[in-house]
């Protein structure tokens, strides 16, 4: 039982990161039906933005103080990720707004490769792993025999608060209402006076900000980042989004947690589970899609006529 709870904790931490990135996939899909394969790279670029401020801009006296360094790292990471995401939307996706669906999809893959290579070639030492600062104690505490790291608490609390905040934003604000309207029917929304371009940009901004936070948290957990971290994280988050029902915000969160927990439980209870955990994650995905083609929470957005 203790072992089960321990693994549940591990899975929740893993799932929180997946869910946070998955939100960006699902929101963009919900608004413009684009699977933004460059989203994993936004996550990576955000982490590098955070590293840059810590390494080059913060004076040593401030870098040692987590109360200053952590917010600084987070804010710059978000700023960099948002900047890149907005630029990508402007330069790569907007010109293709009315093109066949395949065109932006392939563009997204191109952008993903472009961003990876840009970091690899131009970030100082970008070809190899970069050590990431530990802004939160790497210590642990025990509750009833279950070991929990402080950073894990931070990850889960941050992720869940952001998820709740996003839900409130979409449900309660004018902009959120505009987003929901655009996702249901962009043409009618435009006729109602909604500035669709603005709604789309805001969607990218929010997705990028969440991914940047996830990037910094992953960097702090594993003490290192490299130019390829976006690929695997993006793939897993995309899976989580599909699992939960792409286009559905609650679904992305649920999908993230389910995926994380399935992975750790496979490691614990299936023979050779640790090397087969990804297989089990995708088996669950397939089973869910066979039973519920729209994902766990179904696709609540209307498709375009």
């Amino acid at each position: 039982m203790r072992q089960f709870v321990q693994q549940l904790v591990n899975g929740t931490v893993l799932g929180a990161t997946y869910g946070l990135i998955a939100l960006g996939y699902t929101m963009v899909y919900g608004i413009i039906q684009l699977i933004n394969f460059a989203h994993g790279e936004i996550f990576m670029v955000g982490a590098f933005g955070g590293l840059t401020v810590y390494r080059y801009w913060l004076p040593a006296s401030m870098a040692g103080n987590p109360w200053i360094a952590l917010p600084a790292v987070m804010i710059v990471a978000i700023a960099v990720a948002v900047g890149v995401a907005v630029a990508v939307e402007r330069l790569a996706y907007r010109p293709l707004r009315n093109a066949p669906r395949l065109a932006p999809l392939i563009t997204a893959i191109g952008v993903s490769i472009f961003l990876q290579e840009a970091v690899r070639l131009f970030y100082p030492g970008g070809k190899r792993q970069q050590p990431f600062p530990q802004l939160i104690s790497s210590g642990t505490f025990e509750v009833a025999g279950v070991t929990i790291a402080w950073i894990s608490v931070f990850v889960v609390v941050t992720a869940v608060s952001l998820m709740i905040a996003l839900q409130l934003f979409v449900k309660r604000t004018r902009m959120g209402k505009a987003m929901r309207a655009t996702s249901q029917d962009p043409e009618s929304a435009r006729l109602m006076g909604i500035n669709i371009d603005r709604v789309i940009v805001v969607t990218f901004v929010i997705g990028a900000a969440l991914a940047a936070v996830a990037g910094v948290m992953q960097g702090m957990r594993f003490a290192q980042i490299d130019f390829r971290i976006g690929f695997l994280a993006g793939l897993k988050a995309f899976t989580a989004a599909v699992l939960g029902g792409i286009g559905n915000i609650g679904g992305a969160v649920l999908g993230g947690f389910v995926l994380g927990i399935v992975e750790v439980m496979a490691t614990q209870y299936v023979p050779h589970g640790s090397s087969w955990k990804d297989v089990w994650a995708f088996v669950v995905l397939i089973v869910v899609l066979v039973a519920r083609p729209g994902g766990l929470l179904g696709e609540r957005v209307a498709t375009r006529a």
């Binding site: 072992q3 321990q6 693994q7 591990n10 899975g11 931490v13 893993l14 402007r90 330069l91 010109p95 290579e117 840009a118 690899r120 070639l121 131009f122 070809k127 190899r128 792993q129 050590p131 530990q134 790497s138 210590g139 642990t140 025990e142 070991t147 790291a149 992953q218 957990r221 594993f222 003490a223 290192q224 490299d226 390829r228 971290i229 695997l232 992975e263 750790v264 490691t267 614990q268 050779h272 640790s274 090397s275 955990k277 990804d278």
Partner: protein
């Protein structure tokens, strides 16, 4: 419409310099000309190593060390009438990429030999490609037994690649050496083994496990992980209750460093032991303070104990490379010199490199014998280094300290 046109123009203005910059971003240190007469004929020594990705630190060290050997040979006019150039290819630690790099080098008529690869799994794809073209391959780092002794290396060793040699030693010796150290010196009786399923990691783990059980120790469980994974909490939570006194890891430092860190944070306060794949400064940088007390074996005697190695380290420093020579620099330097030494005779009065020259080189490399930076450089009938010295390192206050040097006789 005008907006999108304007945008397009701006887009190209912004993107063009970026693309141009990207085009010239990849060439790093060129092998310097030596000021010899321009008419010297050119031969190339290839390098196939990971020059991007997690293992870049090691790959770059190998490339630079070969470059150093070539520069020195050119300066000393070691091959009269010929100028040696470096042809470095990135294998990204991937077997398929390595095979492509090998095909590229093999088709270049000027290539007389290849130093590489780092990964045994990559070598298994590279060696057959080079063998077809009669290009000699000398690896500074492959330790997998099957590369020189075939699938049945335990019972009926048979050399699969006639063109393949290595200055590194074998996993069966390295794993055995580690197992004996754990049993005899650390008095450890119960271990868990984790490996990454790659040719190197699995082979090393198996030979460690075999020798450890032969000594009387218990292998409580064997777990496998995927390279590229970062979160090992699940697998560590699983083995936590097993009560091991040591974790043996077969694999390389990117995963090993995270394992070590996360193990100690999960409450498994036992040392991690690994092979030469984890003995790199990056391991300690990533694992942090948690790395203290961990162990790793490495090939050869500690460089600081050898006069010849000191010269290499000093020369490497003097050459001003940006990156360190890594754990394999000295072995790569020896590997390059093993090839260079055969060139004057093998090339003879040839006008260009051809099939017969390449064949002569393969044959000659098998017969070299000289004092290299890390000991005697010579190969046995399988292409393995005759020098079999291994060193156990322990991480103490942030760096690897040699604790025992010796040989494993199996």
């Amino acid at each position: 419409m005008t907006a999108s046109k304007r945008f397009r123009r701006w887009g190209s203005v912004v993107l063009l310099p970026l693309l141009l910059a990207a085009g010239c971003g990849d060439d790093e240190e060129e092998t310097g000309g030596t000021g010899e007469e321009e008419s010297a004929k050119v031969v190339k020594i290839g390098v196939i190593a990971p020059l991007s990705g997690d293992l870049t630190a090691i790959g770059t060290g190998i490339k630079n060390s070969v470059d150093l050997a070539i520069k020195q040979a050119n300066e000393n006019n070691a091959v009269p009438g010929w100028r040696i150039e470096l042809a470095a290819e990135d294998d990204a630690a991937k077997p398929d990429v390595g095979a492509q790099a090998a095909a590229k080098l093999a088709s270049d008529r000027a290539v007389v030999g290849v130093v590489g690869t780092y990964n045994s799994s990559v070598a298994l794809q590279v060696a057959p490609v080079l063998q077809k073209a009669n290009v000699v391959q000398v690896s500074p780092a492959n330790t997998n037994d099957t590369l020189t002794r075939g699938e049945d290396f335990k019972t009926a060793p048979k050399r699969p690649f006639s063109n393949y040699f290595r200055t590194a030693t074998l996993d069966s010796l390295q794993g055995g050496f580690a197992a004996d150290y754990a049993w005899n010196d650390l008095k450890v009786a119960r271990v868990v083994i984790i490996h990454d399923k790659k040719a190197y990691g699995q082979g090393l783990s198996e030979s460690f496990g075999r020798q450890f059980q032969k000594n009387g120790g218990a292998v409580l469980t064997t777990e496998t992980i995927n390279t590229g994974d970062k979160d090992f909490n699940a697998v560590l939570s699983k083995i936590r209750s097993a009560g091991a006194q040591l974790i043996f890891y077969g694999g390389e430092y990117p995963e090993a460093s995270l394992l070590s860190r996360q193990a100690k944070n999960t409450g498994i306060k036992v040392p991690l032991m690994g092979g030469d794949g984890i003995v790199d400064p990056t391991y300690i940088k990533t694992a942090g303070a948690e790395a203290n007390g961990d162990y790793g074996t490495s090939i050869g005697a500690p460089p600081e104990s050898l006069e010849s190695a000191k010269t290499f380290i000093a020369d490497y420093k003097a050459a001003g490379y940006k990156d360190g020579h890594s754990a394999y620099g000295a072995l790569a330097y020896d590997a390059a010199n093993a090839i260079i030494r055969t060139l004057p005779t093998a090339l003879g009065s040839a006008e260009a490199v051809d099939e017969s020259v390449r064949k002569r080189i393969v044959e000659a490399v098998g017969k070299v014998s000289f004092d290299g930076t890390s000991g005697k450089v010579a190969f046995d009938e399988f292409g393995d280094a005759v020098a079999r010295t291994l060193t156990m390192y322990k991480v103490e206050s942030g760096s690897f300290k040699a604790v025992k040097t010796g040989e494993f006789e199996g």
